[in-house]
Symmetry: C2
Subunit: 307 residues, 2 copies
């Protein structure tokens, strides 16, 4: 095997109350990456998309992640990488995570799977750190494991796969920019104990709801009393989108990662379509450009071809 093509998905981290600990992979929205082994050492990266990302491997999320893996293997040959990024950087739905995970999963396949999933997450974290400035795995783990993952602890990478029932996921990406570092900077350093208890009660309820496929419980638990009240102020139209989506039948939702994209869960496609119409209307009225997607919870990275 010399060449592999993978699709690496968008993802949603946090899921309201699950700030910094949970994430899901999405289906239907992927970066496409082709990786070819070569005899010469080093990594060459070519982007065929329109996002003007650096093709210098040490300044490219995918390059840094792949290099971390090659270093661990003491791999002396090289790779040619072609990336067609379809998940816009800075959208809040795991664009850098898709790059960082897609490339290490692809290389691992090509090399006969020397590494397990957890090790792949740790290599991908090196790339993610380049993009966000902090070591987080909440977008990475769902890309590699698929579905819903919990990161109980980041330093030891205690990753837990959790069940989640079928749901439709609306994404709306208003074309504004929020820096992840700024979204992190405005968080309070201290929070009321009472709010913290409310938050962990909702985290517990959300996981219980996922496990029991109890959509009512999921809906009641999709509630973030700590981060959303602060970060939602950075996103014009947030309150309206949330209110209108829930009126249209959505189970709930909020900010995807650190934004600006918003997500909503729905039980069926017709609700998701109604939610999308409401979301569009809000941003049309505000005169803000947007992109919307109706998708589902996905299985993570998909190997397209191997030759």
């Amino acid at each position: 095997m010399n060449s592999i093509t993978v699709k690496s998905p968008a993802s949603v981290a946090n899921l309201c109350c699950g700030f910094d600990i949970m994430g899901i992979a999405l289906s239907g929205l992927y970066d496409v990456m082709k990786l070819t082994k070569r005899d010469e050492p080093g990594i060459s990266i070519k982007h065929t998309d329109r996002y003007n990302l650096s093709e210098n491997p040490s300044e490219n999320v995918a390059g840094v992640a792949l290099q971390a893996m090659m270093d661990a293997l003491k791999y002396t040959n090289g790779f040619d990488v072609v990336i067609d990024k379809q998940i816009k950087p800075g959208s809040g739905i795991g664009s850098s995570a898709a790059s960082a995970t897609g490339i290490v999963v692809a290389a691992n396949e090509l090399l006969g799977k020397p590494f397990g999933k957890k090790e792949l997450v740790s290599f991908a974290m090196e790339g993610e750190a380049l993009a966000s400035g902090s070591r987080h795995a909440d977008n990475l783990a769902p890309c590699i494991y698929g579905g819903l993952t919990l990161i109980r602890e980041t330093s030891t990478l205690d990753i837990i796969e959790l069940p989640i029932p079928p749901m439709y996921v609306n994404i709306i990406h208003p074309q504004i920019e929020i820096k992840t570092s700024y979204a992190r900077q405005i968080l309070p350093k201290e929070v009321p104990l009472k709010s913290a208890i409310t938050q962990w009660a909702n985290v517990a309820g959300l996981i219980a709801g996922f496990i029991k496929s109890d959509y009512g419980l999921i809906s009641r638990s999709l509630n973030d009393v700590i981060v959303e009240p602060v970060r939602s102020k950075l996103i014009p139209g947030f309150d309206q989108v949330k209110k209108k989506s829930i009126e249209a039948g959505a189970l709930g939702g909020g900010i995807a990662g650190s934004g600006p994209s918003l997500f909503m869960f729905s039980e069926n496609i017709s609700i998701a379509q109604a939610v999308e119409e409401e979301m569009k209307t809000v941003y049309q009225d505000l005169g803000i450009e947007y992109k919307t997607y109706i998708t589902t919870i996905g299985e993570g990275i998909i190997v397209e071809s191997l030759s």
Copy 2:
């Protein structure tokens, strides 16, 4: 049916990281309550135990809970109640909850089950409020539902039954007094966001561990970075008991409710026996009287006889 005898169990609230939201029923440690219908209105209470609790129904946890239920039914006849309390008041393992729940479950049986479990919890809360000064259901719900319960929200009583794998539960009750109100008063009003995130990550891990019967994950998640560091200072020997218990093979544990009892989970009886020996040694060395129990997670209130 005129008369019923029930056994109402001890319980452990909080379970480390699950402060204020989780609780389990225990087996093997029960108050015994006999309830007999009578034609005259009112409630008469007789205690056959040695705890000198008030037998005035309006000053007795069981009396207040039963009265709340009778008021809801507009019930005009009365009850004779005999209580043999075996769970020492102030022990931290739900003595008042056993009284408050046992009596309403017993009366509900006698009256042909007019109420569901959630309504019974709400009547029992009236009694619990008399004992603790605050409306909490984390000890009540497991007595009525059995096993492990989550209280996602107290005001609407959003109670969720959760699976929990078989475990042995060590309880040690050092014979010191901690007032629930004081244990609550010393809690910080604000907590670092970072600690709160650690706590809800552990809550998520603990529930996932219970659901997957993953004892390793349960062990890693039984970690309270917010309440235990403050409250454990009120309990002599706490750090030693915890350290020695874990060295003896316990999965983990901490303060039962607001203390002073401590609990530890273990995977099998021989570990639980070793843990008990370690616990005893700590309090013998400290010269503090104690009681210990080795028990399991229980099914909640048991109807002993109905005639």
